[in-house]
Symmetry: C2
Subunit: 478 residues, 2 copies
């Protein structure tokens, strides 16, 4: 049994069955395992290490923009959850309820937080008194539970990990600025760390967060052309403040409602990472968030001097890149397969012939290209190569998104595009929910966002033919 474990099993080709390919990669790259309770997941060491790098990069940005981390409780009393009508309607159907503590039945049921707006609102209502107390800029890293019917690792799990920012401001404008700022933070994380190009825009009324004045989003395209919403930022206006009576005295001594935002990014983005960069050989991790940026594989490691040289190399490079060595007794071929499955950006091969020539072989995970590099030049070449890979992953993803984005001007064109080149659909919309619902029902396509970068593609709505209001990105989505 242990022998078999050295072999990397074959994964389904993404062209044959994309969903199965995803499941295979998640399992073979040792990212997660299924928990015992329906829809829960176990994040394994390698999966968690990637998430830690994403989390740490985002946490730095959240702190740099002036926010403080806090930790609010897991439990929400039922009566508190019910305070904001739209919000409870949106979340109640998927709440897990605690009814007993030890042997005792609780007087009031407790929701396990599906999101924590109401807890922060209750706190703010008690702790904000004056304009001097504003703004409140809080964030927490937390687990939340949503009792979903269909679940998939990272994409939709009953319990997931995320950060949720909750802020309160004196003015609507300031809250709007905050909402924008945090979406830009998410976009920066996605594009510059995860190498995932995003489209920024506003959600339609139908797709916005339950209880929000408006929601803005970053939308990414997966390899199969489907969309994934990777992070959202909500402007609440004073809606929650009115429901929870969160007021402050302004400089003139007048009582005012605060204006609030919330914004969240979750382990879901791990799903995007897999489906944007992965291929039929497995995962591909962008260098900036890769726990292992380069893996050294000694060739003919039983020969004298090979392992010593390989370890020297690792020690020499360890301060410059995140590097590891596979000196196990597996065959190099299996080690190569494992490097590919795990998506390490660079593999470094070193054998007796290389040592003779004072060189190594660098193999890029993204293009599979090989190059011979003098050991003396490695400290310069390796970091540069990692940057090239980072950029190439982004460029490839962007080219792919552009290829799979179609302008459509009628429902016929939409259906044609879905068949021939499924992906993002850019189309003019009248702004009417009836059209949005019709499109969803007939084609399972939903509005992804009203992009900030508008184009005028036509004068009329592609669905009903009435006067068009704005351009919308449409797609089937995860």
């Amino acid at each position: 049994m242990s022998k078999n474990k050295q072999f990397v099993e074959k994964i389904t080709a993404m062209e044959d069955d994309f969903a199965q390919w995803y499941t295979d990669v998640v399992k073979q790259a040792e990212l997660v395992d299924y928990g015992l309770v329906r829809g829960t997941m176990i994040m394994k060491p390698y999966g968690f290490a990637i998430w830690e790098n994403v989390r740490d990069a985002l946490d730095r940005k959240i702190k740099e923009t002036g926010h403080s981390n806090v930790a609010f409780p897991l439990f929400i009393p039922e009566s508190l959850l019910e305070k904001e009508k739209d919000h409870v309607e949106g979340f109640a159907p998927e709440v897990a309820w605690v009814t007993h503590g030890g042997d005792e039945e609780l007087a009031e049921r407790l929701a396990i937080r599906p999101t924590s707006e109401v807890l922060f609102c209750d706190y703010y209502s008690k702790n904000i008194h004056s304009y001097r107390d504003l703004p409140k800029l809080y964030n927490q890293w937390a687990n939340v539970v949503r009792w979903e019917k269909t679940t998939r690792p990272f994409l939709r799990s009953s319990e997931f990990h995320w950060q949720e920012g909750h802020t309160a401001h004196a003015t609507d404008e300031e809250a709007a600025k905050e909402t924008d700022q945090m979406l830009n933070v998410y976009a920066d994380l996605a594009e510059n760390y995860l190498a995932i190009p995003v489209i920024k825009g506003r959600k339609t009324e139908m797709e916005k967060f339950a209880g929000a004045k408006y929601t803005i989003t970053i939308e990414c395209m997966m390899h199969d052309g489907k969309a994934l919403q990777a992070g959202t930022s909500h402007h609440f206006g004073s809606g929650f403040a009115e429901a929870f009576d969160i007021t402050y005295l302004d400089k003139d001594g007048k009582s005012q409602f605060v204006h609030q935002t919330s914004w969240g990014l979750s382990t879901r983005i791990m799903g995007a990472l897999i489906m944007v960069h992965g291929d039929n050989r497995g995962l591909v991790v962008p260098p900036r968030i890769a726990p292992t940026q380069a893996m050294i594989i000694p060739i003919a490691q039983h020969k004298e001097g090979v392992l010593d040289k390989a370890y020297d190399l690792r020690d020499k490079l360890a301060d410059i890149v995140r590097i590891d060595i596979d000196a196990s007794d597996k065959m190099p071929g299996w080690k190569f397969n494992e490097c590919e499955m795990k998506g390490y950006p660079v593999r470094i091969e070193i054998g007796p012939k290389d040592i003779e020539k004072n060189q190594v072989v660098l193999v890029r995970r993204d293009t599979n290209e090989k190059e011979f590099v003098s050991i003396d030049e490695l400290e310069v070449r390796l970091p540069a190569l990692l940057e090239e890979i980072q950029q190439n992953l982004f460029d490839k993803a962007l080219a792919h998104r552009n290829e799979k984005t179609t302008v459509v001007k009628s429902m016929d064109e939409l259906e044609k595009a879905l068949k021939e080149n499924p992906g993002f659909l850019k189309a003019m919309w009248c702004g009417d929910e009836a059209c949005e619902e019709k499109i969803k029902e007939e084609t399972q396509v939903t509005s992804r966002c009203i992009p900030f970068e508008q184009e005028k593609l036509a004068d009329t709505c592609f669905c009903c033919g009435k006067k068009a209001k704005e351009m919308v990105y449409w797609a089937r989505a995860y």
Copy 2:
């Protein structure tokens, strides 16, 4: 109302009412607030920032000793929790139960993890096959829930944050080494970061973890003489492995049970931090974990050049120490009080006269001593002073513990010591649980640990007079 918020309110003197002093410090230093649900807490920005520093220091050590972080689910199916008899008996009375998901009643109740042994055991039983799969060295940072009757912030809360390490090994000896190693990691964290001296030892059978072969612990003394268990490490032997059928094939192809450990350190240590170093002016945070190591207070800041100089100072020192500036319009006296309440290790005063002399005033939080330091020497003096404070806090705490530790040779001596110098009691014990129970019942004193550093204080048990087996530390405890 906002005006009042500038004033630091008086706190109860610790000599008058230690419990109230604790509550006052927790509140006034803005560490936590009470959650809505009984016994839950909200960790506020300052409290959480201290915890983050403790967590990050410990996380580094956990990784340096070869462990990987993972994330296991929050939920434990009831049937799984029941698999190990001692374990479920220990934890079932304080479990919070989820019975409904949305509108549906669940087929099986789900426990919210009070600790995660059974989840890791189930995972190991499915994922360990061969000696090649060992050791498994996993850790997770998680929230857990224990439905406690009496709760206090940090010390005993219904939900708390911690790390829990769960490891599996081929041999009993290797598991024993791991158990020791992780207790040493905790001791290092407590002594060298939190400046809290610890006593390392083994728990008695009565006090060990439910399901463990043995538990080892670090015990600290609080300012009031009571003990606090700050971290524990458990050797499970193969008890859980037998209950969960966790076996591996050894090199000879023979099936063997694994040997396991677990070890945890929680937000409880924040309580120790407060009660070891705090005083009647508030919190005292050891420099190595202080989010703000030095706070600059400009004096007569309205005078020309003062604020500019203060900001220059901050910018100059920001790469060397964690430094901040309070340039608010509060009076310096209030700012001083706030520095003291928050326990910043050093306060830096700078006013017009200081600027003239090219100096600042450094005020130590621990001793309240002032020194005048040339601005040119600050980059050397300030870090050195922080180290002196760190060392002094440890020395003071150790001296205090020594003062309040009494050797007792009879129950009478114990009761005398409890009255005259309540603290740790060193006494010989016969090893009989009857004595342990009698002592607990009559005096509310519990065995803290059988210290690794044994002394022979007498030949007979201080309680029953029979032959003594070992020396034990006894104390009233949090």
